[in-house]
């Protein structure tokens, strides 16, 4: 199957390059002059959003899908509408909350730094798990996402979320840091989300602190990480400058 081949290719690739493989299918030209196609057709959208309302009680299960279809006025879900079953339900939550993020977030003023914006965006996205009532069931979703055939799509969606966050935070850098930024934000968000599913504290204070510790680590270690990626380029430039400073005529 193509998804298993994709996974095998992915696993054979050195860890540092994996993100590149995952990035390739997304991020095509984003047009402002032309309306983009909606991700879901109307029937899919109605069924899946109704089904999500059943998740707090029935979990990410086929039953929730069936009940959702019933609510939406479809007596029987034809199985080819959702070939991936419950993963389609999980993915619908991911996609709709990613695209809905921009409507949930308001930055108080222009002087809000990119770092603080990213922190707010992560918290807001985590809050969406709570507001939709699925947070108590999210471990089931994580289990579904980690099935071999769902991993590529799940990681791609995670990468898309990180891209959306940097975009909404107003980051416009298109240099080698583009990749490290998305990789590190993906990692931090995924970790915080897993932490959130086990968090018993009021209003998820512990998750917030967990997130702040991860972001702090990124601030201290982050320089080293992006340095690795820009290393080759940096070395070439540094070498030339060094030799020049030694009086070599170059």
């Amino acid at each position: 199957m193509s998804s298993t081949t994709a996974l095998r290719t992915l696993l054979r690739t050195p860890a540092s390059l994996r993100l590149l493989l995952l990035q390739t299918p997304r991020s095509t030209y984003h047009s402002y002059d032309h309306a983009e196609q909606p991700v879901y057709r109307e029937a899919e959208r109605t069924i899946l959003s109704s089904a999500l309302a059943h998740v707090p009680i029935h979990g990410f299960t086929q039953e929730a899908l069936t009940l959702g279809a019933k609510d939406a006025g479809y007596l029987d879900i034809s199985s080819n509408l959702f070939p991936k079953g419950t993963f389609d339900l999980v993915k619908y939550h991911l996609v709709s909350q990613r695209l809905g993020l921009k409507d949930r977030i308001q930055f108080p003023d222009e002087n809000f730094g990119v770092g603080r914006k990213v922190r707010n965006l992560i918290l807001e996205r985590l809050r969406a798990n709570v507001d939709t009532g699925i947070v108590t069931r999210w471990q089931e979703a994580l289990a579904i996402m980690s099935l071999a055939e769902n991993i590529p799509a799940s990681l791609r969606e995670l990468g898309a979320l990180a891209d959306e966050m940097w975009f909404l935070a107003g980051d416009t850098a298109v240099d080698a840091s583009w990749y490290t930024k998305r990789a590190s934000l993906s990692g931090i968000y995924a970790a915080a989300e897993i932490y959130q599913t086990t968090d018993q504290s009021t209003e998820y204070r512990d998750t917030e602190q967990f997130l702040d510790r991860r972001l702090e680590e990124l601030r201290t270690v982050g320089g080293a990480v992006s340095g690795t990626l820009g290393w080759a380029g940096f070395q070439a430039g540094a070498m030339v400058n060094l030799l020049r400073s030694k009086g070599v005529m170059i």
């Binding site: 095509t28 402002y32 032309h34 983009e36 959003s49 309302a53 809905g100 939709t132 107003g170 380029g233």
Partner: protein, 249 residues
């Protein structure tokens, strides 16, 4: 109840992708207040072409066209990064040995820096990832600039000649392709939209500037470089290879 809120959030207006237009409009506005009313205007979602006789309807972009734009803009961006770096490392040795070349080198560098800025902006605006080979191209172009700079004026000019020949060809085929889209849209009574019209203009202007550099290089004895054939062949093959790779990653 919470179940209902769930439902209303998800079936809310968040899904159609066209509503994603607003954030960047907001972002661009806050970044450069002076220039981009056009972007803001075009960012208002216009789902279906209104049948207004005054302005022809927008042509919708096919997936193939989006893919083309994505890889073309990424290649342009990488190329201009390389160009600025080549000049950055060439200029010190060349200007030291031939002070009279300072204005020419600065002129060419300034234009390349302008091109690079244009594509930096376009990549961020259209949410296109930069090439994954960024650090590699960074190193390669710095070394190429340094190497030819140290070899002397003729070699440096041969380098410019070779690079600009390939880049000029590359931009030329892009202009041709975009004009073909434009013709096809016109034939259907549609328009490509402001962003693409502007892109055609930009790429044309940049191509002309690249070809100017080519002329300057030949005027400064690029052909006298030794071994000219080898330099020219190797650098041009390198450019074609880099374009090929960057189109893909």
């Amino acid at each position: 109840m919470s179940l209902r809120t769930t439902h209303s959030i998800l079936s809310g207006p968040s899904l159609p992708l066209k509503s994603r237009l607003t954030p960047l409009a907001f972002q661009l506005q806050s970044r450069n207040r002076n220039g981009t009313t056009r972007t803001l205007a075009s960012a208002t979602p216009t789902p279906q072409p209104d049948p207004q006789p005054a302005s022809p309807p927008l042509q919708s972009l096919t997936n193939a066209q989006k893919k083309y734009l994505e890889s073309a803009l990424r290649v342009n961006h990488a190329g201009e990064l390389a160009a600025t770096l080549i000049y950055t490392s060439q200029i010190p040795p060349i200007v030291k040995a031939h002070p009279h070349l300072r204005p020419l080198m600065k002129h060419m560098y300034d234009q390349e820096a302008g091109h690079f800025k244009t594509f930096n902006h376009l990549l961020a605006k259209h949410r296109i990832r930069p090439t994954a080979m960024y650090p590699i191209w960074y190193a390669a172009s710095t070394l190429l600039g340094w190497g030819t700079g140290v070899m002397g004026r003729e070699a440096a000019m041969a380098c410019t000649e070779a690079v600009e020949t390939e880049i000029g060809d590359h931009y030329n085929s892009q202009v041709k392709e975009l004009l073909r889209w434009d013709d096809e849209a016109k034939a259907r009574g549609e328009t490509l939209g402001e962003d693409l019209q502007a892109l055609i203009k930009d790429v044309r202007r940049i191509r002309d500037e690249e070809l100017d550099h080519l002329d300057h290089a030949v005027g400064e004895d690029a052909k006298m470089a030794r071994p000219y054939e080898v330099l020219n062949g190797v650098i041009r093959a390198g450019c074609r290879g880099a374009i090929w790779v960057t189109e893909r990653v």
